[in-house]
């Protein structure tokens, strides 16, 4: 294959992984990453740590600056204003055009706004981009903010809350739902997270919706008014009500979009030589249990890799793989492997153990009474990805999983293990034939298990 000009819109994890994969597969193509946001790839998930002083921007770059030249991956700081798929060229905000042989749209997300009165006032902002971070610095400079209101109870809302608290800014956190992400988390985990936020001094208000934002005499946000009429004085309003695909610039390009750029199982759009990956992509036929748009680091990385293979002439279907995710709510780590919905489905069972101190939790979902394990969810405890995935994909029955559960633990050495407690929960439910926990954490146990099975 002769060298093509491959342009990638977006230098986030999806675009970068596509470029990296293509290079690693030996491509001689001319690859250019185009970003309006930053000169170099940085970890979006680490923006919060810059504001909190855990890292500098430099520390959030996964590769040294020299890496890109070394791997002949070009970088261009520009905003793509229009995609001319007929002439196969991009129009940039500078007025320049760039021709391409193949195009990858990896333009990420933009923050949602739902038409609230006052949502565009100074002092009202979202948190997604590097520019949002700069705006937050400006908005919270020199003691200007005595209280902030964060609207929308997702992960970014928690992050923004944590960020502001480290600067000594009290936060009122408005959540529409009656509990913490009660549509997604089982009640116990939901309650644990809510408790944890309150322990950190967050003024957490469930079942509370914002009606409008009031402006002060200086034209900046002055207060949030809730649907129940309460006025909460504040100088900063964080809108963290989710994100949506950033695809407005593709209007009239001929690239088919719905919410995001529509892609088939090879992540191809309706046009030849145009692919999409990451937050901005919308899978035409999502796999069971998965959503068409999944704005997630892991999904972006995986889609980027798939696009890299396809561009390299190795046709590859996007396999979302067994679901996993993780997050950290203040000090509370969370991991999930497989499906752990708020309520177990028909014919499914769920066992849960929580430490008396309320900061550790273990949950297993399975098809009862001795069917395959369906999901692992851990709070304040770490589990081994490889092991959980192996067991989920093999459909290991719950009793077998419980016997070997110690091996799934990934906590640091010397940490106490609590798998026996979860086994006890199961045994109380099925006293007729109790399960005995056989294995402990660690590589020795893991290799013994592999030899045995």
């Amino acid at each position: 294959m002769s060298a093509r000009k491959i342009l990638i819109i977006g230098n986030g994890v999806a675009g970068v992984t596509a470029a990296r994969t293509l290079r690693r597969l030996g491509s001689k193509d001319e690859i250019t990453l185009i970003s309006a946001e930053t000169d170099h790839f940085f970890s979006r998930t680490a923006l919060m740590y810059i504001y909190m002083g855990h890292m500098r921007y430099e520390n959030t770059k996964p590769y040294e600056d020299g890496f890109w030249d070394e791997h002949r991956i070009g970088r261009l700081r520009a905003r793509v204003t229009r995609v001319d798929t007929g002439a196969k060229q991009l129009h940039l905000d500078s007025g320049a055009t760039m021709p391409y042989d193949a195009l990858v749209v990896a333009s990420g997300s933009k923050s949602n706004k739902f038409g609230w009165p006052g949502q565009d006032l100074p002092g009202v902002q979202a948190l997604y981009s590097y520019q949002d971070l700069e705006l937050l610095e400006a908005n919270t400079a020199s003691g200007r903010v005595r209280r902030a209101v964060v609207v929308g109870g997702g992960l970014i809302g928690v992050e923004l809350t944590e960020m502001l608290l480290t600067r000594g800014i009290p936060v009122t956190f408005l959540v529409r739902e009656p509990g913490w992400m009660s549509f997604a988390y089982p009640p116990e985990e939901s309650a644990m997270i809510a408790r944890h936020l309150r322990e950190h001094g967050v003024d957490l208000r469930f079942g509370t919706e914002m009606e409008r934002i009031e402006a002060g005499p200086d034209g900046r946000a002055r207060a949030v008014v809730t649907k129940s009429g309460e006025e909460i004085p504040c100088e900063l309003v964080g809108l963290t009500v989710g994100v949506g695909p950033n695809v407005d610039f593709l209007k009239d390009s001929g690239i088919e979009t719905n919410r995001g750029v529509l892609v088939d199982e090879h992540l191809r759009t309706n046009l030849p030589d145009v692919y999409a990956a990451g937050d901005c992509a919308e899978v035409r036929q999502a796999r069971p249990g998965r959503r068409p748009v999944e704005p997630l680091w892991y999904v972006g990385r995986r889609m980027g890799e798939t696009v890299g293979y396809n561009l390299a002439g190795k046709p590859t279907v996007y396999e979302p793989g067994t679901w996993f995710n993780s997050a950290k709510f203040f000090d509370l780590e969370w991991q999930v492997y497989g499906q752990v919905p708020a309520q177990p489905g028909e014919g499914e069972e769920s066992i849960y153990w929580e430490h008396p101190a309320g900061k550790l939790g273990l949950r297993l979902n399975y098809r009862g009474p001795d069917g395959p394990v369906l999901g692992f969810q851990v709070m304040g405890i770490r589990y081994r990805h490889e092991v959980c995935q192996e067991w989920l994909e093999a459909g290991r029955p719950i009793r077998w999983v419980l016997e070997n559960l110690g091996v799934a633990n990934f906590d640091p050495e010397f940490y106490r293990q609590y798998e026996h407690e979860l086994v006890a929960v199961y045994n109380r439910r099925h006293p007729e034939s109790p399960v005995t926990l056989k294995r402990k954490r660690g590589l020795a146990g893991l290799s013994a298990l592999r030899r045995a099975s």
Partner: protein
């Protein structure tokens, strides 16, 4: 946490900070409090350090010895006297460098008069006593201020921890401290007196400069170890490790050798292995141990076994961490006093390259120097030429690299400068760790989000993220296994573990974990 008590705790902390600064400030000026008079008694002690043929000339060259002088004036006068004697003699025939240093220190120590030498207990309480009390008062309220967990807030805005003005000043102080301690101890006899109460208690005599240094070292490890334990109280790994490294410093490096010395036994730091302990095979040490009867021989063989069997064998089972971040004194100081500065280590590939060249060069230097020493010890065939090697190693590596740079540069370039770039024992352990060990840091499948916390807080400057984001185990010779990367990871990605070596070097990228596709590099 109730916010009602937070202002009281904050007040307590501010009081602690104030007391610390007061104690530390007094410590800085204590050496200037006393004056110095070289009377007959002082001379008789100090001239012992000088070869007999120079004694009269030296004493004669010291003008007006009984005039009270300040510490600086006295030190300079002693130095001038030595220079005056040597000026009249051909090169090589004068007073040798090592004699000079010992002479100046002995003379100043014996000549010291004034409030500090009169009541060292009072000044000990007012300096390190107050500083330690204040520091603890500053750290302890954290137990009630915030729930346990990683709290790296504002580190990169902090003028101490992010190489700001105070950090640079602190670095300058530490560098100055080591230069005075190693090369100009006659200027800090007032400091040495501050350890007298402890030396009297332990050994029944006054402190010398190495006792003073060892004591201060222990205080730093203890107080900053308490700080570390408070900050990482949610982690049993960190608590056990910190208890271990503190125990070995206080017990093995300090108490046991000093008690042995008090009992007139051959004495040694039982955990200090060659070649970190580069003087182990020096004539005076071997002779000292051999003349110490059965006990001395036991110590001698223990030292040999420790260096060549115990340390490498344990590294094969547990990685070099068992020594470097669980037992070692340098590691102990780095993990406690140095912990606030771990983010200053250089993560670049360039630094890694320099590291490999420098640390292995030091190892070669240490091996050659020790080889020459031992060869000479057995054959006597070298005359004095091996002595130059010892002198250069002691100066360049033992004093400048391990001390002045190793600790002085904490606030400037991170807390493991010596361990990473210089320590020859770490170089040996690193080879074991890389090629023949059951230790690795496992990456947890695809959970890495490339945030960079692990790399940022790696004191050894390892770009942990490079491996983690491609699902690769981290096996690096420099890793000391402190475990902080695993602690600061927000997604539960990293685990330090020992285990079967099959698959330790996993070249498979797990980004596509589960899809059955094996990634090519």
């Amino acid at each position: 946490m109730s916010h009602g008590s937070s202002s009281a705790l904050r007040t307590l902390q501010l009081a602690g900070l104030g007391l610390f600064l007061l104690g530390f400030g007094l410590f800085l000026i204590v050496p200037f409090f006393d004056y110095y008079v070289a009377d007959d008694a002082a001379w008789s002690v100090a001239l012992e350090k000088i070869k007999p043929e120079h004694r009269d000339a030296l004493r004669g060259a010291f003008s007006n010895p009984t005039d009270p002088r300040s510490v600086v004036a006295f030190g300079l006068a002693a130095n001038r006297a030595v220079a005056a004697v040597n000026a009249g003699l051909p090169a090589g025939a004068g007073i040798a460098g090592y004699e000079t240093k010992e002479f100046r220190l002995a003379l100043a120590t014996a000549a010291e008069r004034g409030p500090v030498v009169r009541s060292p207990g009072l000044w000990a309480a007012l300096t390190w006593g107050l500083a330690c009390f204040g520091a603890l008062l500053f750290f302890l309220p954290r137990l009630r201020q915030e729930p346990p967990g990683i709290k790296n807030h504002r580190i990169f805005f902090d003028p101490v921890k992010s190489r700001g003005a105070i950090g640079i000043a602190l670095g300058a102080f530490l560098i100055g401290f080591y230069i005075l301690l190693y090369f100009r101890p006659e200027f800090i006899t007032g400091w040495i007196r501050l350890a007298d109460p402890v030396a009297q208690l332990l050994k029944g005599k006054t402190a010398d400069r190495w006792f003073f240094y060892g004591f201060l070292y222990c205080l730093a490890v203890l107080v900053m170890g308490i700080r570390f334990a408070i900050n990482y109280r949610h982690s049993r790994y960190q608590l056990v490790r910190t208890a271990s490294v503190t125990f070995f410093q206080l017990g093995f490096a300090f108490l046991i050798p000093n008690v042995l010395e008090a009992l007139n036994k051959p004495s040694m730091d039982l955990k200090n292995a060659w070649p970190l302990n580069y003087t182990f095979f020096y004539d005076w040490n071997l002779n000292g141990l051999k003349s110490g009867g059965t006990f001395g021989w036991v110590l001698l063989w223990w030292g040999v076994a420790l260096s060549f069997l115990v340390v490498p064998a344990f590294a094969a089972f547990f990685g070099k961490r068992w020594y470097c971040s669980w037992v070692c004194g340098c590691g102990g100081l780095a993990e406690t006093l140095g912990d606030p500065f771990r983010q200053q280590s250089d993560k670049s590939k360039r630094a890694w390259k320099i590291e490999r060249w420098v640390i292995h060069s030091v190892l070669v230097f240490a091996v050659v120097m020790t080889g020459l020493t031992l060869w000479n010890y057995h054959t006597g065939g070298f005359g004095n030429s091996y002595w130059k090697w010892q002198e250069w190693y002691g100066f360049a590596i033992g004093s400048i690299f391990a001390g002045v740079v190793g600790t002085g540069f904490y606030p400037l370039m991170g807390n493991r400068m010596w361990c990473r770039f210089g320590c020859p024992l770490a170089a040996i352990l690193g080879m074991v760790q890389k090629y023949k060990s059951r230790f690795r840091i496992t990456t947890n499948g695809g959970q890495c989000i490339s945030c960079g916390n692990c790399s940022t807080y790696c004191e050894m400057g390892i770009d942990v993220r490079w491996y983690a984001q491609r699902g690769q185990n981290i096996i690096r010779s420099s890793c000391v296994g402190c475990g902080i990367c695993s602690q600061v990871c927000p997604r539960g990605v990293l685990r330090l573990e020992n285990g079967p070596t099959a698959g330790r070097y996993n070249e498979v990228s797990l980004v596509q974990i589960g899809s059955g596709r094996i990634d090519v590099r």
